[in-house]
Amino acid sequence: MTEVHRPYVADKPAQRETNEQLRARIPGWGVDLDPQDRPGYPREQPGIETGAHWELPERQEETYPRERSIEHGMLPPVFGTVAPLHGVSGAIKRYAYARYSEGRLAHWLLLIVGDRVEAFGAHVRSFATLHPDLPVKVGAVVAAEVHGEGLRSRFGQRRSDVKHQWLDPVVVLAPWVVSGWVGYRLTKAVLGRR
């Protein structure tokens, strides 16, 4: 006779363990069974006490033109001021913020392009300092691999990510290799004209 599985009939599956067994085995089982005991319920709680003693917060001083999403009706009263926009990457990002809403793919892609342009500039400038950005932070990686037993942690385990972890160095190094090649070709072209 064909075995009939659960969803083909109306009954709910029997619980594997009774509530009493679960309560005995798991400290606190069921203490938040009632949704009223869960702090996220209901999702919206008008009138909740937050500690705010203002209707609209006082406005933080805008010490430089602060970029904002065009979905905002005004500059919000408080904002972060770390790493203001600058240079070419800043121009790209300002355009992304000024032109495209958060609903447009172009908004985010331009921000990501701006990120990579900024990183490239920062790496180049770092070579004029005592702390150059190397393609790989060799000391930290070696230390982590040695202390963390990189080989034992990765191999002989049933891990899915070892299939693609080898791509990480490629992702990190590829822009350096491409930049180096472009730089080499440009230099050669300029010198070749003389």
């Binding site: 599956p13 709680q45 917060p57 891990r159």
Partner: protein, 382 residues
């Protein structure tokens, strides 16, 4: 002061930075006592979050001591030991006034689709984070809470995100008595979500991951059944078989943007940044849950689209519930659970490093070496 500083994808270092200053009357400056690295910090580290600027300090899980307060601060004073929710929020906008603290409209000029988060790119407001000796904390009268005398520092720092988010993930599942709950991800959030599912009356809890050492922790910490997804041909078929072909009542995505298990999804998201995140865990959740069931999403995704199996979700009549966690709203109940021993956050901590060693710690955590689950960071000024 010393601070962790982002220098581009896969590149961070410890640098000297200026101690942050009061920029708004309700700001406080906190001297960080203990911080943590979150799994979502790895999305930044891997260059997945748009507008992550060079020079930014990460870290949205931290506790510390009040070092300075602005002129309008009433509820905190210098010297108070405080825990700070990962949300930057005003407490008074349309959303905060209804308890949706993670959706605050007054703190993030860069985007309206997300509130403010410490050290989490300009897409969440452009604030520096707590993997540093000092950090600026806006709306000091709203977010921070004085750490109860009885609470251990390790428990307090984990309550600022990981524990609150794990519990919130289980809440999103709308768990009812006797439900079968499957949790994707055995990181800190997944472990707490699984443990919390029992508190909400689950009848069966199954945790899915590909790291055996984390699944072992899921069995110990969360009393859960476990599945290493590399050991089955098809996760969804396994889930159907183990539930007598019904499917789980509730599935929780506690992984987010860098979910493993589908090479195409991983390549197009983590590696090539063509998606806001790899929705492998979310798609497994959608396909593993029973028709009419609920999927709770606690994992974080970027703002660009992701290839989610929406047709299956629609055709199955699923309820999808998600949000960034409104942390402080969760705290009173979670404090009770920690005090009663129902949640023991510090059991998930595997590493504790000085701030000066944070580049190594990021690599260790990212590559999942040395059975790493949760890394705490101690600044020198602590």
């Amino acid at each position: 002061m010393q601070a962790m500083v982002y220098r581009g994808p896969f590149k961070i270092r410890v640098e000297e930075k200026d101690v942050p200053r009061i920029e708004h009357p309700n700001d406080a400056i906190i001297r960080v006592a203990l911080a943590a690295i979150c799994g979502s910090d790895l999305h930044l580290y891997h260059g997945m979050m748009p507008d992550t600027r060079i020079g930014t300090t990460f870290g949205h899980e931290f506790i510390g001591v009040v070092h300075e307060v602005g002129s309008s601060v009433q509820h905190l004073k210098v010297g108070d030991r405080v825990m700070v929710p990962f949300n930057v929020y005003c407490g008074s906008c349309y959303f905060c006034a209804r308890g949706l603290y993670s959706n605050c409209h007054n703190v993030n000029p860069n985007a309206t689709a997300v509130g403010g988060i410490y050290g989490y790119s300009h897409t969440t407001g452009g604030y520096d984070g707590g993997q540093a000796e000092y950090v600026r904390v806006p709306f000091a009268d709203v977010g921070p809470t004085i750490i109860p005398d009885w609470m251990a520092d390790e428990d307090a720092v984990l309550l600022t995100d990981a524990v609150a988010t794990g519990y919130f993930g289980a809440e999103l599942g709308g768990i009812r008595e006797g439900d079968t709950v499957v949790v994707f991800g055995a990181g800190p959030v997944g472990l707490v979500a699984a443990r919390s599912a029992w508190l909400m009356g689950a009848g069966r809890v199954i945790v899915v991951d590909h790291l055996d050492y984390r699944l072992e922790k899921a069995r110990e910490f969360a009393y859960a059944e476990t599945l290493n997804f590399t050991q089955v041909d098809d996760v969804v078929v396994f889930m159907k078989q183990t539930t007598d072909y019904l499917g789980a009542d509730v599935a929780i995505d506690a992984v987010g943007a860098e979910a493993d298990g589908d090479l195409v999804q991983t390549l197009t998201s983590s590696k090539l940044k063509m998606q806001g995140g790899s929705p492998t865990a979310l798609n497994w959740a959608i396909d593993s849950v029973r028709k009419g069931g609920t999927v709770g999403v606690a994992g974080a995704y970027g703002p660009v689209f992701s290839a989610v199996k929406f047709g299956d979700a629609m055709n199955k009549g699923l309820t999808l519930r998600m949000n960034q966690t409104p942390v402080k709203r969760e705290w009173p109940r979670l404090f009770e659970h920690v005090r009663n021993g129902y949640l023991v956050p510090h059991e998930i901590v595997t590493h504790r490093v000085p701030l000066s060693e944070i580049p190594e710690a990021y690599h260790l955590f990212s590559a999942k070496l040395d059975n790493c689950i949760k890394v705490l960071v101690e600044p020198a000024a602590a």
